[in-house]
Amino acid sequence: MMFNVGVVLVAAAVVLFILQPLVRGIHASLERDDDELTETEARKRVALLALRDVEYDFLAGKLDEDDYRSLKSELTAEALAALEADEASKAGGAGDEALEAEIARLREALNSGTPCSSCSYSNADGSRFCSACGHALAEAVAG
C-alpha cells in the first residue's frame, strides 16, 4: 500500500511538473541575449585578438621586424574592416565613444601614426616603444 502511494506520488509529481508550462501557458524565452556578441562583433573581437597576438609575438621576440610589419598592417586592415562593419551593423546607433576612438586610432596608425625617430616606422598613437625596432618613443607618451 505504502509502495503504491509512493509510486503514484512520484508519477503525479513528474506529470504535473512537465505539463504545467503547457496548461498554465508559461513560456520560456527563445530570444537571443542582448549581451551576446553579434556576428560582426565576434569578427571584430577575433581580429583584435589576432592583432594582440602579433604584438605579443613580436615583443616576445618570436617575429622579426619585417614579418611583424607585414602581418601587422594586414591585420590592422582586417581589424579596421571588422570595426567598420560592426559600426555599420549597429545602424548608426548612439555610437560607442571607445569604439569610435579605437577606429580613429587604428585609421590614424595606418595613415600617419607616430614616426619612429630611429627607423621611421609609423606607430599607433600612444605607443611607448616603436613596434618595429623597439626604440623608445617617450615623447609620444608625454603628449
Partner: protein, 686 residues
Amino acid sequence: MTILGEFALWISLPVAVWGMVLGYAGGRTLRGDLVLSAERSIYAVFGLLLIASLGVGAAFLGDRFEYWYVANYSNANLELFYKVTGLWAGQRGSLLFWAVLLAFFAVITVFTNRKKNREFMPYVAGVLQTILLFFIVVLLFADVNPFERLDFTPADGRGLNPQLQNYWMTIHPPTLYLGFTAFTIPFAFAVAALLNGRLDARWIQLTRRWILTSWLFLSVGIVFGMRWAYEELGWGGYWFWDPVENASLLPWLTATAFLHSIQIQENRGMLKVWNMSLVLVTFLLTIFATFLTRSGLIESVHSFAQELKIAYIFLSFMGTVLAASVVLILYRLPQLRSENQIESFVSRESAFLFNNLLLLGAAFSVMWGTMFPLISEGFTGQEISVGPPFFEKVNFPIGLMLLTLVGVGPVIAWRRATKRNLQKNFTIPVTVGAVTGIGLFAQGIRHELALVTWSISAFVLTVIATEFWKGTRARARIEGEGYVLAFFHLISRNRRRWGGYIVHVGFVMLCIAFAGAAYNTDSRFNVQPGDVVEVESPFGHTYELTYEGLSMSIGRGERNLLWQAIATVSVRRDGVPKGVLTTEKRQYTNRDTQPMTEVGIQSIVQEDLYLILSAMNDTGGALRNDPGAQGIDLQVLIKPLVNWIWIGCLFITLGTVIALWPSIDRTRRPRERVAGATEPAAAGAD
C-alpha cells in the same frame, strides 16, 4: 526502494519521449511553453534515473540476490566499498550509470542556460532527450535491465571478479564515463546549431568548457586504466592495445583533434564542416566505445550472437545518428563555407591541420586493428589476433610526428611563416634536441626509437620553455613587474594558451616514459628463504634483494579469500636498506579462477622496482606450512621512467584546469575587451 527504482526507470521512458518530441517541436514552432516543458522533462528524467540508480545501490547494500545483476556482481562477504560501487561493476549497472551521468550533465546544461543562449536550447533539449531515450530503451528492452529478477533467490551471489577489486578499477570506469557523457553536450549544441542555422563559432564557444572537461576526464580515465593494468594484472605492462583500451582511446584521439581544429575555426573561420564532422565522429565513438565494451562483442563474436538485441539497438541508433547528422551537414553546407583560405603550407593553420590528419590516421588504424579480427572472425569463423606489433608499427611513427608538431606548432606563425621566422625560433631548440641525442648516444643509448623520442622531447621542451621565458620576459619588461609576478600574470591573461602548453609538457612526459619501456629489464630467480639476488637497473642502481620467506594465511573467509601466500623481500638499493616489499598469490573462494597475483612496487623518480611472485615451487606443501616448501619463482622487473606517465598525467590535469578556469567573461565587458586587445600599446601609456 529497489522496486521504486525499477518503476522510476519505466516512467522515465515516456518522459524522455515527451521531452524529445517537445524539444524538436518547440524549436520548430518557437513556442516557449513547449520548450519549457521539454527542459523540465530533463530535470524529471534525471530525478527518475537517480531513483533507479539508488534502487540498484539499495539492492547491492541489501544483498538482494534475487536480482540477476546483484547475484552476479556481489556476494554477502564483499567489502562495503565494492558494494557501493557495484552500480558500475558490470554491464547492466554501467549502462544505467551512463544514463544517469548524462542526465546529470543535461541538467547542468539546461540550468546554466536557462537565461542565455535560448535560441539553442529547444534543440539541445531535444537532442539530449533523444540520447537519454536511447539508453533508457537499451536498459528496458535489450535484456540488460539491472532490475531483472531470477526465478529463485540464491543463498549468495557469485561475487565480484577479484581483478576488479582494486581502487583504480573503481575510479577508472566512472572517470571515463564522465568523459564520454560530457562530450554529448558539445554534440547536442552542434546539432542544435545545424538545426537552427546559427553556424558561426558560437556553438563552439558555448561548449568549449564541456569539450575540455570531457577531454580531461577521458585522458585521466585512460591513465587510471593504465595504472590499474600496471598494478593489478601482474606483468608490469600498462597498455596492451586490447579492444577495451582501444575503445577508450578512439574518442580521445578524435576529441584531441577536435580540440585543436576548433582553434582554427575560431581564429580564421575555416574548417566548419570538418569541426561538425569531428564532433559527430567523436560522439559516435563514445557510443561505440560503450557498445564495444558493454555489449559482449569483445569476448567473441560467438558469445555476442546471443546478445543480438543490444547490438541491433546500438547499431541502429548509431546508424540513425550518423545518417541524420550527415543529412543535416549537407543541408547546411552552403552556410558552412570557409571564410578564409590557408595561405601557406608553412603556417600554424597547416600545423593544426596536419595534427588533425595524424590524430585521425591514428584513430583509423586503431579502429581497423580493433575491428578487423572481429569482422574477420564473423566471416570466416577463424580467430585472428592483431597484436601490439601492428598497432606499434603504425602508431609509433604517428606519435613521433605528433610529438614533433607539439614543438613546431606554438612558434610557427599564423597565416604564413617565413624562413626567418623558422630560423629565429628553431635554431636553439633543434640544437638542444641534437645535443641531447648525441649525449644519450655517447652514454650508450642505442635503442633507435627511444633515442629519437628523447631527442624530439628535448626539442619540444626547449620550445615550450623558451615560450614561457620569452613571454615572461616581455611581460616583465612591459609592465615593469618582477619575473615571478610576470610569469603568473602571463598565464592568467591567456589561460588557454599557457594551459595548453602545460598540457603539452605532460604529453611530452608521457612520450618520454613510453620510450623508457625500451629499457625494461626482466629477470627470474628461483629462490629459497635467505637467498640474495642482485639486479642492475639501466640507471645504474644495484638492487640487492633478500628473499625472507613465504607466509600463508588460509581460509579466513574474509573478503572472499580462500588462501593468501605472501612473499617478503627486503630491498637494498646501492647498499642502502630500502625497506621491505611483498608480493602475493591469492586464491578467492567465489570464482573458479587461477590464483591471482599481487605485485610489489617500489618507486623512485627514475624507475620502479616491480616484484612478482610468479610461482611457488610447491603450492600444496606451502599450504600445509611445510618448512621445506618455501621456495618460489621471483620475477624482478625494472621499469625505467614509468612514473613519468603518472606525473605527466598530473601536468595534463593541471594544464587543462588552468585552461578551464573561469575567468571574468570578457565578452560581456566590451570596453575592457578593447583595452585588452591593444594591451601592449596601452600599457606603455600608463
